[in-house]
């Protein structure tokens, strides 16, 4: 199979998967007993308002007709209107998703950097105290609950030391004095390209704690993966050969060994990206980060099904595409898979 054939095949598969996700979530969320008309009309509505809401939401139609309306909208990129806030779901998710993505990308980037460095170092200095310490760190990263770790960080860096802000994406008052021209929705990037240094600095300070909390899990995962792969690879014959030729250690570790050890780590990165998306749900609540997790929590608690389906579609799509990208990256790094 040629590469482009493979990509097309995977894309078709992705759409089938997403379609079934939509079907399942739509029907499950409509079967659960609830009263969307009551949610739509507000706290103390009149019977007339409830009837009006039923009409507007097509609730008097059979479920299959409702699904037809929904799917019709979906094909036009319309995710419907949130029952709770009366806002277009696509618009809401759009702004929430960039906030989450910024957080996840920063967390994953540092997780990768620290994880690979720690993994390589532990493998090279196997059974030294540094190795033991980093293994302990990795295990606690995987097993400590994010909400607990986040709160500890808040207590330490905000309350005790006063170095970092408590919550949010950026300081409200600072934002008022130095308004940010939002282009992509990634505050760090936007402030950088518009030369808004105050916001740049402020948003970096704000992202440190939530990103560190979120990165704990992938750091642990990547460290452990890279370490075990490195240990394995370092025992291979070609490494011994390279050593005997007098190739410098740094070159052996970083070029010869790591290239073979990093490929499985990449799978882990892909998986952990998806996991961080889930982890972000908790971290966003603790740090008041206006992202997808906070949005989804509200939607689920109030059975706001257009919003729930919207979130599920976005997350499922992200999952499918992250997997695809990881597979392609792996092919690029490791030519042995390219068959």
């Amino acid at each position: 199979m040629k590469l482009w054939e493979y990509v097309v095949y995977r894309l078709i598969l992705a759409f089938v998967v997403i379609f079934f996700v939509v079907v399942i979530v739509f029907f499950v969320s409509h079967v659960i007993p609830s009263n969307p008309a009551a949610l739509w009309a507000g706290a103390h509505p009149t019977p007339e308002e409830i009837e009006k809401a039923r009409e507007e939401l097509h609730l008097n139609d059979p479920l299959i007709v409702q699904f037809y309306y929904y799917l019709g909208g979906l094909l036009h990129g319309n995710l419907g209107v949130s029952i709770r806030t009366h806002n277009p779901v696509a618009e809401d998710i759009g702004s929430a998703f960039t906030a989450t993505l910024e957080l996840i990308l920063v967390a994953e980037f540092f997780a990768l950097l620290i994880g690979v460095a720690l993994g390589v170092y532990s493998a090279v200095k196997k059974d030294s105290w540094i190795d033991n310490a980093s293994r302990l760190f990795a295990i606690s990263g995987v097993s400590l609950p994010a909400f607990w770790f986040g709160m500890v960080l808040q207590l330490l860096f905000f309350k005790q030391l006063g170095w970092l802000p408590l919550s949010g994406r950026v300081d409200t008052v600072v934002m008022l004095e130095h308004p940010l021209h939002v282009i992509t929705g990634f505050y760090i990037f936007d402030s950088l390209i518009t030369g808004n240094w105050t916001i740049f600095q402020n948003s970096i300070l704000h992202i440190i704690l939530p990103a560190a909390t979120l990165a704990m899990y992938p750091v642990g995962l990547i460290t452990r993966q890279v370490r075990s792969m490195m240990i394995e690879v370092l025992q291979e014959n070609y490494i011994r050969t390279a050593r005997s030729y007098g190739v410098p250690d740094r070159m052996i570790y970083m070029k010869y060994a790591l290239k073979n050890a990093i490929s499985p780590a990449l799978i882990v990165v892909g998986l952990s990206l998806a996991y961080t998306l889930v982890g972000a749900f908790l971290v966003e609540i603790i740090f008041n980060w206006p992202g997808l997790g906070r949005y989804a929590t509200y939607a689920i608690l109030s059975m706001d099904y257009p919003a729930i389906i919207g979130v599920v579609i976005v997350v499922a799509t992200a999952y499918v595409f992250i997997n695809l990208i990881v597979d392609l990256l792996q092919m690029y790094i490791d030519p042995r898979i390219r068959v």
Binding site: I32, P33, S34, N35, P36, A38, L39, A41, G42, A43, H44, P45, T46, P47, E48, E49, K52, R84, T85, H86, N87, D92, S95, A96, M151, Q154, F158, K159, L166, S167, G168, R169, T172, V173, L176, E177, I285, I286, F287, N288, P290, R294, Y295, T297, Y298, L301, S302, M303
Partner: protein, 526 residues
């Protein structure tokens, strides 16, 4: 040393020196006095910004941008945009005299035309709290500062005009050229306002924060201790809000865990402000289904309910036992009704009298996620088990709970716990919605049906505007019937508990406008 490393080091040193030099050489702008800012940490996001239809928590924003004709303060109707009002003898024609020299945020003058346009739009759209204007037949502009309401039937219009939902006055000259009602709603929801209030909307993000700035031409004037910028910041996590208010990141918040309030009372950085709210928790008893269709059984439950324990353990003391179907402090609250108090012997006697000696199974529903309701349910279960009641507790989200309750009363729950608070502070709002007979169950979730009661409250509300004493005596009779019939347990009225930073002063909770912080009242502590 490696040559490459040496070169790299030199380059880095040069860059650092250049950067520091550039920073030092930068012209330092003189720090101008920062505008004073006050932040209200709020629990949930905003819904809509349309004053005609908004029927939810966005009034915390609207009440600072817009004003009503009248304001409800401590049980009295006070002037706001109207300075005085009078009616004919039977309360069917009301004339309001409007405040002069009031400007909208657009600069347009406020006139009688705006009153007519705003309320007519609210009625026309028929959403949210539009039903409060049901008595209105016609609104006439007499002159620029006089407006007349002709009613279909007698009503207490000044009280209706003070409502926290659906009574805000908008800038008709700004809004009417925008288009039809839906287009206007779209314009407003994009983050515009059209009010006369002390603050105008500066930036709006329903999910994160609402920024309002002081309106210099506000008719009430300003002093330099009031705040230039008022922000409502959405922080859903209660423990985060607590950390923020104790570290002065926000200056005021509410709905912190009640378990933490005693320690906050001792925190030198904040003060706790607890005021009785106009909200009451009811246990609606299913009056059409056995065994609670028997009045004696309902009375037995009312006697077996540990009211004081509920206030002590659920509210941590921040609230009061409800002695009446109407919350304390509101019109129509009476403390001389025949209330129930905890008395197990009496409860047992009543059950015996009713012929229930072998125990019974009852189903209670409450709103999932509401910790207080959950604790109430558990305490009821424990206490009622002493008189042989086996209580099954079921948590449903409100919409589910409501559909279950309104589907078929004869198969529905036996006990339903829920809160009620008024759209505008009249006892009729409580008594009509919760206990007036209904063809289809809607909010009367006790399914109570008593024509004598219906008649009394319908008569009372028509007298509210003209003969308040007579109206109150009718309400008193009606409420006494409720106490005897016991279609519901009147559990408690919780306090509104705000935690306020010591850097501000002037906060005064007005339970007539639930959850609203009027930023205009707040001042810096010098």
């Amino acid at each position: 040393m490696d040559k490459k490393i040496l070169i790299a080091a030199i380059v880095i040193v040069i860059i650092i020196i250049a950067a520091v030099g550039a920073y030092m050489a930068m012209p330092k702008s003189k720090p101008k006095p920062a505008p004073s800012t006050v932040i209200y940490g709020y629990m949930v996001e905003m819904i809509t910004l349309d004053p005609s239809t908004e029927f939810s928590n966005s009034i915390v924003t609207l009440a600072n941008l817009y004003e009503d004709l009248t304001k409800y303060v401590d049980g009295n109707v006070k002037p706001w945009l109207a300075t005085s009002w009078e009616s004919n003898n039977d309360g069917t024609v009301w004339t309001f005299h409007l405040r002069e020299n009031v400007k909208f945020h657009s600069g347009n003058p406020f006139t009688a035309q705006d009153v007519k346009w705003s309320i007519e739009r609210t009625i026309r759209m028929g959403q949210g709290a539009a039903f409060i204007w049901d008595p209105v037949k016609e609104i006439k502009v007499i002159d620029d500062h006089t407006v007349e309401f002709d009613l279909k039937y007698s009503a207490n219009l000044p009280l209706i005009a003070s409502a926290s939902y659906g009574a805000w006055i908008m800038d008709s000259k700004l809004l009417s050229p925008i288009g039809n009602d839906t287009q206007i709603a779209g314009y407003l929801n994009k983050g515009h306002d059209a009010g006369t209030g002390p603050y105008y909307l500066y930036s709006y993000n329903a999910k994160t924060e609402v920024v309002m700035k002081k309106f210099n031409d506000y008719w009430g004037g300003w002093n330099d201790k009031q705040f230039d910028i008022a922000i409502i910041k959405i922080v859903p996590d209660a423990s985060l809000r607590e950390q923020m208010v104790t570290s002065n990141q926000i200056q005021i918040t509410r709905e912190l865990p009640l378990d933490d309030i005693p320690s906050l009372e001792n925190n030198p950085n904040v003060k706790v402000d607890a005021t009785p709210s106009y909200e009451e928790l009811y246990g609606m008893l299913n009056t059409v289904k056995a065994p609670l269709n028997n009045k004696l059984v309902r009375q037995a439950l009312a006697y077996a309910t540990p009211y004081k324990d509920l206030v002590k353990y659920v509210l941590n003391g921040y609230g009061e036992v409800a002695k009446c179907p109407i919350p304390k402090g509101m019109l129509g609250y009476f403390d001389d009704l025949s209330t129930y108090s905890y008395n197990i012997t009496k409860a047992e006697e009543l059950l015996k009298q009713a012929g229930y000696t072998g125990g019974m199974h009852l189903l209670l529903t409450y709103t999932a996620g509401d910790e207080a309701e959950k604790k109430v349910a558990e305490l009821l279960k424990a206490s009622w088990s002493k008189i042989g009641v086996d209580l099954e507790i079921r948590a449903l989200n409100w919409e589910q709970q409501w559909s279950f309750a309104t589907s078929d009363p004869s198969k529905a729950q036996d006990v339903l716990i829920f809160y009620w608070w008024p759209t505008y502070p009249t006892p009729y709002d409580f008594l009509f919605n919760l206990f007036h007979s209904e063809k289809q169950p809607f909010f009367n979730l006790a399914y109570y049906n008593n024509s004598q009661f219906d008649h009394l409250i319908d008569q009372a509300v028509s007298l509210e505007g003209t003969n308040i004493q007579k109206a109150l005596s009718l309400y008193h009779q009606a409420e006494e019937i409720l106490m005897q019939d016991s279609p519901a347990l009147f559990l408690y009225t919780p306090d509104d508990v705000y935690v306020v930073s010591n850097t501000i002063t002037g906060f005064h909770d007005n339970p007539g406008y639930p959850q609203v912080v009027f930023f205009y009242d707040l001042q810096k502590v010098s």
